[in-house]
Amino acid sequence: MERHLYILQRVTAAIMAPFVMIHLAVIFYALGGGLTASEILGRTRGDPAWAAFYGLFVLALATHAPIGLRAVLREWTPWRGPSLAAVLLAFGLLLLALGLRAVAAVVLP
């Protein structure tokens, strides 16, 4: 269990590290280039590459964050067991839902 969570967290971190850089670069490009919201949406909507990029980003983040939060909570509090697992699962699903909703708004035609 601990080993699998560790591997999942490292793999998702390895995915997110370059993705964060690309995400920041995109923001600077879009804002620096003076693109309007409709111009940005015109490029992202219906584009499977952007859907895959941000979809995978959200999936990695929704996996990574609860595992990290779990480590913090288990180190700083005596909280263990099914209640902790349920709360962390709910937290991960919330991140996933919010993230995918945002991705859908940007990439769905």
Binding site: E2, R3, Y6, R10, E75, W76
Partner: protein, 238 residues
């Protein structure tokens, strides 16, 4: 330099207070010399622990001016602050009395990481050939000089916060055994160090390596155990 060293020594158990002593200054005086002077000349009821006095046995570790140190090899002139030395028991271990800690939990965790050699051959088998230059042997060699003083354990902030964390010394020992081609229970070691309280709890702060009196790097050993979890276990010696 003043003729005396102002020493403050912890008295009591978990609850207690510092007691001040004035100890005559000597050339090349160690912190253990200060404690011994107090016990012999000022207050024979002072409880502390030492054995070899030459940095081999790992018995005399204490907190000196806030840092865990082996007191027999720590010169007063190197650590005193404003002509004073404050000496307390090690952090994260139950205090028995004064400067003596109960080391039980430290050694239980050592065993918790399966920190003892399990032979794979009998005395009737020929001696196995271990190449000193083999990478796994070099990893093991880098960590085997541990003297069990618990300085790393007291220095570790994760140990201080999470009582079931095995700690740097036990995990360092597990790493040396995992890299020992003669050990027969490697699976068991890895199972134990990959559990909750094992290698994944390490934050890689490096406090253990910073304080280790014999210059070992438990942080590096623990990083090795984490690497094994990512698939490197197949590279261990048969």
């Amino acid at each position: 330099m003043a003729e005396i060293v102002r020493v403050r020594v912890w008295r009591g158990g978990a609850e207690g207070q510092f007691q001040a002593f004035e100890v005559p200054r000597r050339a090349n005086q160690t912190v253990l010399d200060l404690v011994t002077w107090v016990q012999r000349e000022a207050d024979p009821t002072l409880a502390y622990r030492f054995a070899c006095r030459v940095g081999m046995c790992g018995s005399c570790a204490m907190t000196v001016n806030g840092r865990p140190r082996w007191t027999c090899r720590t010169h007063v002139e190197r650590v005193e602050r404003d002509g004073g030395v404050e000496i307390a028991p090690l952090r994260s271990l139950p205090v028995i009395r004064d400067l003596a800690c109960d080391m039980t939990v430290f050694f239980e965790k050592w065993q918790g990481a399966r920190g003892r050699f399990a032979p794979s051959q009998t005395r009737r088998d020929p001696l196995p050939a271990i190449k000193p230059e083999a990478p796994a042997r070099q990893e093991a060699d880098a960590g085997i000089e541990c003297i069990n003083c618990a300085v790393c354990y007291a220095a570790c902030d994760v140990v201080a916060r999470k009582p079931d964390y095995l700690g740097p010394a036990a995990l360092n020992r597990a790493w040396t055994l995992a890299n020992d081609g003669r050990d027969s229970e490697r699976e068991e070691i890895l199972t134990r160090v990959w559990r909750d309280g094992g290698a994944f709890d390490c934050h890689s702060h490096g406090s253990c390596a910073e304080h280790c009196p014999v210059g070992l790097e438990p942080t590096r050993a623990i990083a090795g155990l984490k690497r094994l979890a990512l698939g490197g276990a197949k590279r261990l010696p048969k």
